[in-house]
């Protein structure tokens, strides 16, 4: 009998030793003459327990973690292959509360399957959405996405169905599906986890999008900081093609779809959709003025769907289980689930896929377990480097696009970065401007010059130079950037700055909260 063991190949799991653990397990099994099948799965997203090793048993998969290379010998002694007791034993994986309390729709297979096995994907519900889509009219596929309420998960939260409808009705001999996999926001890793752990889910979503709007070519624009995802995607695309899911005649449907993955080159701005398109065309990643919308004139001037990884990867489940199934999750106009990412100074960092509507408090405490340092969490930055700093007194807010927007916060791509009380918020505000200096594409003045002046004026405030006047100047500058910038880079860099100033005035050497 052969034992089936899972050791994640996910970047984060590997960054804390998963490869070494996998090698040690293989060697130990060989030395003991035990037949094992070692699967390198994605991560379940319980990163404080990584490297998490799972063993398949009749009762289900049993987890051990965090496993270090030096624990491997004792695991074998404890007969972990038979689910034996060991201090690192976590019990049945699916029963771990952090995982059990989630609602995994998009991430249903991540960490469960062999990421590169077309058949494993199929055995866990894969390709069902595509098979359904191939029986529907283009308008019906688009309608399902619209009715599901799915909104862009990259950050802008634009209704995906409306974007698809625009491309469907646009005239063009060639149309494109572009996946925005330039996940540059600090505190976010859901795109990476999905691409490394369940790449066929993204591929299936892109094929469905192609069939829906009549696009025959897709591109995944992947950031160069994700080398593992790059390798995984390339292999997955080749495997999908060999199995007939990509190519000139998908599953003998007469429909064609080709897919290619392209690497970015370390420019944060290329996560902005028009800048991304410029970069794909081989140019400097400078933002385009809109209109025209990419849906009308996108890649190489042709109608183009540009969607984030998680948006596209949510499409298969919608087509497989129906729009109503998906729309049944969530609150208000935020339908379905979001893959929240707990990052920074947090005890239980990882991925939490939940329906919209749970509170930040629940996310940080019930799932996150408080800060890693053990000190109180003073603030969290939600939505990446352009997202506001949310103070502890606002942690009661429900995670809902509109509820957040009302307070000038942003959910964005769902990244939540926790900071304990050692953080200096004036320093973080200055960093927001420094980041904009570094990453501005340079096309518009408020962003290119405004960010440089922003660094200078915050520096002066911190040094106590003419403080009241400089705070006024900073607010005025932020107003110019918000209203005068061409895209979200310059237009939203002020949000972390102004929220820091509003909620943490003492860090700037101010006595009371200035009116922001």
């Amino acid at each position: 009998m052969s034992y089936k063991i899972y050791v994640p190949c996910d970047t984060t799991a590997v960054s804390i030793g998963a490869d070494k653990v996998a090698t040690a397990i293989s060697q130990q099994a060989q030395a003991q003459g035990l037949a094992i099948e070692l699967v390198r799965n994605g991560s379940r997203g319980l990163f404080w327990l990584e490297p998490m090793v799972e063993v398949e048993t009749a009762q289900g998969r049993v987890a051990y973690g965090p496993v270090r290379m030096s624990d491997v010998a004792s695991l074998f002694e404890a007969q972990f292959l038979e689910a034996g007791d060991h201090p690192l034993k976590l019990g049945l994986t699916e029963e771990i509360p952090f995982l059990k309390q989630q609602e995994r729709l998009t991430f249903a297979r991540v960490g469960v399957i062999d990421p590169l096995s077309v058949s494993d994907y199929a055995a866990h519900g894969g390709w069902a959405g595509l098979r359904n889509a191939l029986t529907l009219t283009q308008a019906d596929i688009v309608s399902a996405v619209t009715v599901s309420g799915l909104r862009g998960r990259g950050g802008a939260a634009f209704p995906a169905g409306i974007k698809w409808q625009t491309v469907l009705t646009a005239q063009g001999e060639q149309k494109y599906i572009v996946c925005n996999a330039d996940e540059g926001d600090s505190g976010t890793f859901s795109d990476r986890m999905l691409m490394e752990g369940d790449p066929f889910c993204l591929i299936e979503g892109m094929i469905i999008a192609g069939v829906a709007v009549g696009a025959t070519q897709g591109y995944i624009y992947l950031r160069s900081e994700y080398p593992r995802a790059f390798t995984t995607l390339k292999t997955a695309i080749a495997n999908a093609k060999a199995a007939g899911f990509l190519g000139a005649n998908i599953l003998n449907s007469g429909k064609a779809f080709e897919l290619e993955v392209r690497l970015g080159a370390g420019a944060y701005i290329c996560g902005e959709e028009t800048s991304l398109l410029e970069s794909l065309e081989g140019k400097r990643g400078q933002v385009r003025a809109k209109p025209p919308l990419p849906a009308i004139q996108g890649l190489f001037g042709k109608p183009t769907v540009v969607n984030n990884v998680i948006t596209l990867a949510s499409v298969p489940v919608i087509l497989a289980k129906g729009a109503a199934f998906y729309a049944n999750y969530g609150m208000g106009r935020s339908r379905g689930t979001l893959a929240f990412q707990l990052a920074g100074n947090i005890k239980h960092g990882g991925l939490v896929e939940k329906a919209f509507g749970l509170s930040l408090q629940a996310l940080l405490n019930d799932f996150g377990g408080g800060s890693r340092s053990g000190k109180p969490i003073r603030t969290v930055q939600v939505g990446g480097p352009l997202g506001a700093y949310v103070p502890a007194e606002q942690f009661h807010l429900p995670l809902d696009y509109e509820a957040f927007a009302k307070e000038e916060f942003m959910i964005g791509h769902g990244g939540v970065v926790a900071f304990d009380d050692s953080v200096n918020m004036a320093q973080m505000a200055q960093f927001a401007m420094e980041f904009c200096v570094e990453e501005s594409c340079g096309k518009c003045t408020p962003c290119r010059i405004g960010s440089v002046r922003g660094v200078e004026v915050i520096e002066r405030i911190r040094q106590g130079e003419n403080r009241a006047a400089n705070v006024e100047l900073l607010k005025d500058l932020c107003d110019t950037m918000i209203n005068g910038s061409l895209c979200a880079m310059g237009g939203m860099t002020p949000f972390p700055v102004l929220s820091a100033l509003k909620y943490f005035p003492t860090d700037f050497g101010l006595n009371a909260a200035p009116k922001v």
Partner: protein
């Protein structure tokens, strides 16, 4: 050198939007994009040299000078800052005796900043070659640097 460059350009020039794939291919092979590449690429893609130069200089990833034997990237983004990356980068600069975008005098290590490696649940993170290492601290970084100097890993 020119033969290598020509071959790499030739291999990718027919792709749609070929410039970035060409630059990646060159840097993968040589470690940087040498000045000689610019006129060759420009001619092949029917672009001006200024356009090619503009693209090379726009992207942080592309470098125009040879890197050290290893490139050590330290994440500067917010998540890593919340777990002490500011101290870590100061430590790295002091230990290596260089600033960002510089290479140690023995040619062993180039130090580069990076904004997010997507490893934010195990901050702070650094990257050497294609390997990311999480939960980095000063002691582990010293060990990593020593290992790199001896020619090990990545």
């Amino acid at each position: 050198m020119n033969t290598t460059l020509e071959a790499l350009i030739q291999a990718h020039r027919d792709q749609a939007g070929a410039l970035l794939p060409i630059l990646h291919a060159i840097q993968n092979q040589l470690g940087y994009v040498p000045a000689e590449a610019t006129p060759l690429i420009a001619k092949s893609l029917n672009l001006s040299r200024a356009e090619v130069h503009g693209v090379i200089s726009f992207y942080h990833h592309f470098r125009t000078t040879p890197p050290g034997k290893h490139t050590l990237q330290i994440c500067r983004a917010e998540s890593c800052q919340s777990m002490g990356s500011r101290d870590l980068e100061a430590h790295a600069k002091a230990a290596l005796g260089i600033d960002y975008h510089q290479t140690t005098t023995d040619g062993a290590i180039s130090l580069e900043p990076v904004y997010c490696l997507g490893n934010c649940a195990c901050s702070p993170a650094v990257r050497v070659g294609d390997e990311v290492q999480g939960r980095m601290d000063a002691a582990h970084l010293d060990a990593l640097i020593a290992e790199l100097r001896q020619g090990g890993v990545a």
